[in-house]
Amino acid sequence: MIQALFQEKLQVLNIGLSSFVDSITRTGGSVLQIEWAPPAEGQPEVGRALARLVNLLSVETANQTAFDAYQSAQPVLSGVGIAGKALPNMGERMILHGGPPIHWKDMCGPMKGAIIGAILYEGWAENLAKAEAMASGGDVAFEPCHHHNAVGPMAGIISPSMPVWMVTNTTDGNQAFCNFNEGLGKALRFGANGPDVITRLKWMGQILAPALRAGVEVLGGVDLKPMMAQALHMGDEVHNRNAAASALFLKRLISALLKTRTPSADVAAVVDFIAGNDHFFLNLSMAACKAMLDAAHGIPGSSMVTAMARNGVEFGIRVSGTGNTWFTAPAPIVHGLFFPGYTTADAAPDLGDSAITETAGVGGFAMAASPAIVKFVGGTPQDAIDNTLAMTHITVGRNNAFTLPALNFAGSPAGIDIRKVVDTGIQPIINTGIAHREAGIGQIGAGITRAPLACFTQAVSALAHSIGDSQ
């Protein structure tokens, strides 16, 4: 009975003409003006699809299920494997890449360069020209890392004989994988494929991987979530700043390494390698995030995003309730600061699977924990806090394991809800490195970007379609 309204104080949300606020405030009513703009990039049909999904019980329930699965996941570093054996459905002549699916001819420079490097590393071809001919000739299958429970930063290249981190979600038993971080400068993930790059990859396979495997065994696995949480209290957001997490991991690892039979010279080399790379932990962070989000994937009706990834040409997202479909849009250019001698004109569009961290409520979403990061775009610590707070409006909940000191230890906003993104127009924020658009030059800067709205409007249409026209 609407008569109940007559017993209450009238409190109005005003959507549209702002002049209507006057009569309400002047006569003692409460009113809040909504900063309204046509949602869904002004597509009325998508706006209608969205309206059918807002506060829909089946979606809310599905999201709670998905979010609980994400929240209760316990990612544990359980071992070091070889991609060809560890990853599900990994073919013999298959190379995995970052982002949504893409054909060789459409790939960006760094990805092509990295694939050529991987072919050389695998020994499938003896020189660059032959490797390129092999890649373009259809002799190698290219698939997204995400199709094999894996993630990789930047070009995200994983070939069969590369070592991979194996992370197990001990709550649900699902596994996620990520390659190793090679360090800054000329690296395969930026498309570099010179002899020094291949040599380092070989060393990583032959010396680093066995040592780490033995070390992880001695440790009996490493709980990654507490380590990430601790790093958030030490100024990392575990995407673009991993200085604390890398140190925490190394601290655990050193004594374990010394208890293995690894030759001391190798231990020293391994420790030097990790200590010299503040991003070493990134790939562990990514695998942990992937393990947590895969647990939330595949809940029918859920509007929670379970992957955001870029291949340097397209930005793609996957949503829990829409299966394995990618919703893609052109990858944006990253705004940020550049190393000496480089500018935006040199930059490749957004690249890599590392936005899995933002999808999991860290990275840009936990920027309040990492004020240093916001300086990439000339911001203040307050901006970092504001960025995190803005993300609370487009997420399903808060991850109580990832608390943020600057927000009075509130949990970081997590579980991007496509409905809220499309309704508010607030785009997920992503902290990221910037690769040179040409292969092999490497990282040329870092900055902040936003996930394109078009991915989310497509996903809303698809989810509404999957649920049907029923109210």
Partner: protein, 517 residues
Amino acid sequence: MARATKIIRNFYRDSVSLMQLSSTFGKLPGVEQASAVMASANNISLLQEAGLLTEPVEASANDLLIALQGEADALESALAEAESSLKQPSASSTANEQSRGISPRSIEMGLANLVGANLALISTPGEYAAAEAFKALRLGLNVMLFSDNVDLKDEIALKRFAQERDLIVMGPDCGTAIINGIPLAFANIVRRGTIGVVGASGTGLQQVTCLIDRWGGGISQAIGTGGHDLHRDVGGISMLQGLKALAADPCTSVIVLISKPPSPEVAGKVLETASSAGKAVVVNFLGADPDRVRRENIYPAVTLEDASAAAVALADGRTPEARTTRVTSPSITPLVSGQQYVRGLYSGGTFCYEASLLLKKELGQINSNTPVEPGDRLSDVWTSRKHTVIDLGDDLFTRGRPHPMIDHRLRNERLIKEASDPEVAVILLDVVLGYGSHPDPAAELVPAIQNARDLAAKAGRRLAVVGFVCGTAADPQNLSKQETALRDVGVILAESNAQAVRMAASVALEAGVGGRS
């Protein structure tokens, strides 16, 4: 191309700050490329590769190195500026200021800020309005949908959806409402009281609430339904909801229903519900036969004015009396032979329709852009014919310009045109006050009325201007101030539309008699 370097000893900045500084220095006048780094061996070699450094430097990793490349004469001052900006105190010392939360961008976000919200007032463009209304309903909010151009199909779906959840959708195309004493959209500030109104017409609601206020009564609630609510396919969902809510409301003693005549089955349902409301219900189905409306507890009213008067009487415990609204035209001197027609220039659609109905009874055929009889439709809405009433708020006139309640230019132009027609005896006008309307309509109208009368006078005619002001003393425009300004320019003012129409008719009738004599 020149290069310059500067070393600042033992001055540490983290790498992100340094990249930011490099970016800032790169924008200094005359500088092409700039870099600020901690002078580690690695960074020095990077600068050499980038061509910023050609000579060896004596520096350590604890020293900050600035390297610039650009116009020779600009570099020295650029270096000095770079160094001084480095030594400025940090700009982020305002970090403790209150967090700048972002303003709400969606209804759902708004609800997080205004937790007790119970109504969404939606006035977005029509193509987005239904979706916003659905969201509001899904989030448990009642809806007032001011937007027009919403499909009938959407209206039906919205209202059924709302009904299932015990919520109401007022609209689409609902121009006004007063809920719990709060005026919404185009509404007047009226005294609170015990009369509850449900209306399918915005100006109809404004007229009734203002007249009730004028005659000492007060309003408990005024609920708009939008003009299509009593359409057969909608079935009067909102009017029935409003009626039932007012019937159950202890603060309401008398109910008024306003609409154009509904489809017979909807009318039956509404009247049946009204008859069993347990309260007196005054019904004004504009143009309907009172005998077909009359039921137990139902008081039919032919005009908005009648409905208002009946409601005030009933609320006072009196039996409504038939009003003698025949008004003698005070001091309107006879007009020149040939002046015989009424020209109504309305900003309120319902006023225009009511004028057509009343004038028809007295004067016969009334031409209009929104005629009572389809055959009386003007072929050219820009040119009046004989007795004519025009709704200037019709889409035909508002395309690409503001509504005539806000912008009086179109009506003023038409006023001059009518005044120059030698057959015109009387101009009929409505003036609507309240929130949303022009802040001072009299100020806009007075010069145009003066011009119109002067124009007629020059041609030896005498033009009568009859009108009424729909508003209250508490309205921002102030009823008596508006009325005084209009009277001062010779407008004959009535209290209501019905009275004004009858005055105009009597002027025309007298003129007709005079013309014959």
